[in-house]
């Protein structure tokens, strides 16, 4: 009995995967950049625009009520999906990047003062570096970096030493996009909380691969993007605890985030609307709702084990290529396989793989400090989703041999 039979059956839910590229069946291994979308998500968004499209939170007419209900229902779905305590703790944003910017801007500008420190890790995406860098420059504060070992794992002893009375926030990635490392975030949150320091987790790469329970993790903020989790681009979620969100000033301002406006004074709206100025990406939100329904149906824990099998299979196969070196060999790892081949630049690998119909990412993965840490300019990265197959990985092995034949 094939315990992953039901997962294998999901591939046909993704219409895009049926196409051919350069005359070969598409092998989509760029899932860490963005996931493909199942038909139910595409249909939900189309149905919204065909039947419900209207502006929300302001109309008394039928369509506006219907659109508002549909959009707000997604907030409830997200709340249950990540097990947040309240719907008001779910803020719609454009994506993980905007979620981090919101916290850096709103929480950061009130909590971080001259001489304070912000703590991030050595494996952050630029989106979890630059907003803090800007904040620290502005406040004359210091950005500190938790080092990692050669496997690409955070060194917890060093982390403990970096938590000081000056540390005002810790912001770390849950799963690394460049290395695949799954960080021990629950433990790291607890360590910070012992010293009363709040923690933001960047869950962009975690949400599509594992069950995330924000209350179990204990984090103060959690961000993720819909598009990496089978939903559309342009929408994401910031989760924050009521206590912190309530105390934070607004991020952007305008319509929807207010209770009343006169030219003398504005009274801000309650959570979550205080942080949602302007007409949001309603259609995108509807798509995210459908993606969450879909992930609930396919069972994310089975997805995690299946992807782990794919990763183990791919890792064992590429390790037979002597000139290939895997970058990121953490003991706890999601389905990301970053690698370099001696004497062959990742871009040349990417071009030859593309010619074989295989889509991978090549470059620095918006994590230049990670590349610097490993002393390389770039990597080639194959990242798997549950709709990928071992047969596709076999095609990938064949293409890697072609790379070496042409360029080795």
């Amino acid at each position: 009995m094939d315990r992953f039979q039901s997962i294998r059956g999901c591939r046909h839910h993704f219409p895009l995967l049926r196409q051919r590229v350069n005359g070969k069946p598409l092998v989509y291994f760029d899932n860490a950049a963005t996931s493909q979308k199942p038909q139910v998500v595409i249909d939900a968004m189309m149905r919204y625009y065909e039947e419900e499209n209207s502006n929300i939170h302001r109309g008394v007419h039928y369509l506006s009520t219907r659109a508002t209900e549909a959009y707000e229902a997604v907030r409830g779905k997200v709340q249950h999906f990540i097990n947040a305590g309240h719907q008001r703790e779910i803020i719609f944003v454009r994506g993980s990047t905007e979620g981090i910017n919101l916290v850096a801007h709103s929480y950061g500008r009130t909590a971080v003062k001259e001489g304070d420190e912000v703590l991030i890790s050595a494996m952050e995406h630029h989106s979890n570096i630059v907003p803090w860098q800007i904040l620290c420059q502005e406040k004359n504060a210091t950005l500190r970096v938790i080092p990692m070992n050669d496997r690409g794992e955070i060194i917890l002893e060093e982390y403990a030493k970096l938590l000081t009375p000056r540390t005002k926030i810790v912001s770390i990635v849950h799963v690394s996009n460049a290395l695949g490392t799954i960080n021990p975030v629950k433990e790291m949150v607890a360590m910070a909380h012992e010293r009363g320091i709040p923690v933001l987790l960047d869950g962009a790469q975690a949400v599509p691969h594992m069950r995330v329970d924000v209350r179990d993790l204990g984090c103060d903020f959690y961000v993720f993007s819909a598009h990496k989790a089978f939903g559309p681009t342009g929408v994401g979620i910031l989760y924050g605890t009521t206590k912190l969100l309530d105390a934070m000033p607004p991020y952007q301002s305008g319509g929807d985030m207010i209770k009343s406006v006169t030219f003398e004074k504005t009274i801000y709206n309650d959570l979550p609307h205080k942080f949602e100025a302007g007409t949001p990406n309603i259609g995108g939100g509807i798509g995210l709702g459908a993606a969450i329904d879909y992930m609930n149906e396919i069972n994310l824990s089975a997805v995690g084990s299946f992807e782990h099998e794919l990763l183990a299979y791919a890792t064992a196969g590429v390790m037979e290529i002597p000139s290939l070196r895997i970058i990121g060999t953490a003991r706890e790892k999601a389905s990301v396989l970053s690698f370099v081949i001696d004497g062959i630049h990742p871009h040349d690998i990417g071009t030859i793989l593309d010619d074989e119909g295989i889509a991978i990412r090549t470059g620095h993965h918006c994590a230049q400090p990670v590349m610097q840490r490993f002393g390389i300019p770039a990597t080639a990265r194959a990242s798997f989703a549950f709709y990928n197959t071992k047969e596709e990985i076999d095609v990938f092995f064949g293409a890697l041999h072609k790379v070496i034949e042409v360029l080795g």
């Binding site: 062959i344 630049h345 990742p346 871009h347 040349d348 071009t351 030859i352 010619d355 090549t362 470059g363 620095h364 590349m371 300019p377 770039a378 042409v406 360029l407």
Partner: protein
């Protein structure tokens, strides 16, 4: 020949493995950095100018096979050429890699540069092929210190 073999022609593979004029030049009269932040290709081109003539040219740095081979073939091609000839060759080369060079223009004057004709089938790689050329042109025109291709 497949598009991939057309792209990675023998000349390109050879210049990638053993790049010509791959050295720092101590007595360069001009040097310029070229950088493509998207892929990390990063080169420095050195020129020794004698009036309008490129007496010597060399480069250092790292990047993909296309960018390195292009810098190498370029260096071999431009040695002894005048500034005007260099600019004209770059224009011709750029039309070649973007697929807009008319067939009748593909004369012997291109020499080994013709090996880059396959690049036109790979729009994502045009910047790789032209990085070193942009860098030299900037050096000849005396622009800022680093050329950044976006």
């Amino acid at each position: 020949m497949s598009a991939i073999r057309e792209l990675y022609q023998q000349v390109i593979l050879d210049h990638n493995r053993s790049p010509r004029n791959f050295r720092k030049m101590a007595d360069a009269t001009k040097s310029m950095e070229g950088y493509n932040p998207l892929c990390g290709d990063h080169y420095t081109v050195y020129l020794k100018l004698n009036g309008d003539t490129i007496d010597d040219i060399s480069f250092t740095g790292s990047g993909c096979a296309i960018s390195k081979a292009s810098a190498s073939v370029m260096s071999a091609t431009l040695k002894g050429k005048t500034k005007a000839e260099a600019v004209r060759l770059f224009e011709q080369f750029h039309r070649l890699v973007t697929g807009s060079l008319a067939a009748e223009e593909q004369t012997d004057s291109l020499g080994k540069l013709a090996a880059f004709s396959g690049v036109s089938e790979f729009p994502a790689r045009v910047k790789c092929a032209s990085l070193a050329w942009h860098t030299v042109r900037a050096a000849l025109e005396g622009e800022a210190k680093t050329v950044t291709l976006e």
